[in-house]
Amino acid sequence: MRRAGFPLRRPTAAGWLLIGGGIFCMLILLVLPLILIFVAAFSSGWEIVTQNLLDTDMLAAIRLTMWVALLTVPVNLVFGTLIAWCVTRFDFRGKKLLLALVDTPYAISPVVAGLCYLLLYGNQGWLGGWLDERGIQVMFAWPGIVLVTVFVTSPYVARELIPLMQAQGSQEEEAAVLLGAGGWTLFRRITLPNIQWALLYGTVLTTARAVGEFGSVAVVSGSIRGVTNTLPLHVQLLQQDYNSVGAFTASLLLACMALLTLLLKTLFERRQHKSLTNL
């Protein structure tokens, strides 16, 4: 959302040239791929699309992906909010270290993330051996997929909240405490209304990344068809089967989710902006 800084200008001739160049690049990189997904998925007609969608492996992949997102998002939502509260409302030693730790998953390649978990929870891994003796399988099963997905998507909620909560400051909350509000009342009545839209966007972004995670899940899932195959992995599997329409049909679902994410982002940002200007 724009701040009230620099006024937007009507473009000059040189300005139109720049706009033209930029829009051209965006068309090629961003718009054409989106159109291609729809065209390629429907290239053999509606029936093939529904047939692909109702395929048992596809349904299993959709179910697993939703299950993973359903477990991942609440965990990162709760802990992301706790971390944002901790670093924006208190000063303590090691805060920078904590923030660096929050950002670490950004710097780690998804394949490396998968490998870290494989080394820890795999059969020869430190925890893996112990869990294996108790009959708990983490790797090449859904718990492993959930764990790496939590790792990969852990920064999003915290990173979305921290700049906002820093900008808002803690005066309102301090006033509430002085008026005798307890912790839960404080959070529910003061903090939550102030951050709700950013929190919702953080949730949506976490969901999108959780659903779309590929590299780290590819390492820990084993890609067993119909069992540990998530939707993005299924895209690859179908493409390797030379079922191009099927791959694009799965892509279509994921692209719709991406578009919905962008739509919600715009909506939430507008609401956040409004609630800020209403203060």
């Binding site: 930029g22 509260w85 901790c86 904590l98």
Partner: protein, 274 residues
């Protein structure tokens, strides 16, 4: 907030749970990798890193990631500029669409770009007569990396461009500076910290990119294989030691790049203040 004020509740709870969560989710797995890599002897490490196939992959990954980041620096500067300075139809829509690479799963991006730029694809068809091949070649890797890290530069630059005071530009204009001089002398210097940070984030992201790249690269050993795919291949062959060694070096490189840029930035902003 400063001065150790603890009026607000929940410090111990949020710090304790936050640290516990980060330790379990981030620190423990990362430590496992480091410890695994620490067990590898130097001779073995030398053996892994003299494998010509791995060296080729390292070279391809670095050159492609640097090319993609430079593309992103230029394109990101252009896009951030037009989206924050000019009013034109579709501006808000374009601004929203910039985030698409973050929202679209990387596998979908790779699949679609490779179909679009393949010899029989919509754009590949136009490029083929000119002898330009993008899918299943080095250029494809650069393209995929550029796509997945496109928002970084744009989103780091936008707030800075919005906050630039118009007075400097107006003063320069009154003193007879050309548009070009204004850009080089006035605008670019104030954008450099954000531009370099955005480009670095794009570089780090590109170095580790997997999903989008493997769909479009063709993955020919010695030619279009990237490091993350090599690690993936090692894991598939149960060569966990080799995988850990390469992964550790990749992780260290990424962290080092981020650290260096942050230090440079601190020095740059200190100099600006003088």
């Amino acid at each position: 907030m400063k001065g150790g004020n603890r009026v607000l509740p929940g410090f111990r709870l949020s710090l304790g749970l936050g640290v516990l969560y980060l330790s379990l989710i981030v620190l423990l797995p990362a430590t496992t990798l480091v410890l695994q890599a620490a067990q590898i002897r130097w001779s073995e490490l030398l053996f892994y890193f003299t494998d010509p196939r791995l060296l080729a992959a390292v070279r391809v990954t670095f050159i492609a990631a640097i090319c993609a980041s430079l593309c992103n620096a230029l394109l990101g500067l252009l896009l951030a500029w037009i989206l924050t300075r000019y009013e034109f139809p579709g501006r808000k829509f374009a601004d929203t669409l910039i985030d698409l690479p973050f929202a679209l799963p990387t596998a979908v991006a790779g699949l679609t770009l490779s179909a679009l730029f393949a010899k029989n694809g919509w754009i590949g068809k136009m490029l083929a007569p000119m002898g330009v091949e993008i899918s299943f070649s080095f250029a494809g890797i650069v393209l995929a990396m550029t796509f997945t890290s496109l928002p970084f530069v744009v989103r780091s630059l936008q707030p800075v461009i919005e906050d630039l005071a118009p007075e400097y530009e107006e003063a320069a204009e009154c003193l007879g500076a050309t548009r070009w001089q204004i850009f080089w002398r006035i605008l670019l210097p104030s954008l450099i910290p954000a531009l370099s940070m955005g480009t670095t984030l794009a570089l780090v992201r590109s170095l580790g990119e997997f999903g989008a790249v493997i769909f479009i690269a063709g993955n020919m050993p010695f030619a279009t294989e990237v490091v993350s795919l090599m690690i993936f291949t090692y894991i598939g062959e149960y060569a966990y030691e080799a995988a850990a060694a390469v992964a550790f070096v990749l992780l260290l490189t990424s962290l080092l790049i981020l650290l260096i840029v942050q230090l440079l930035q601190r020095r740059y902003s200190a100099r600006e203040k003088l």
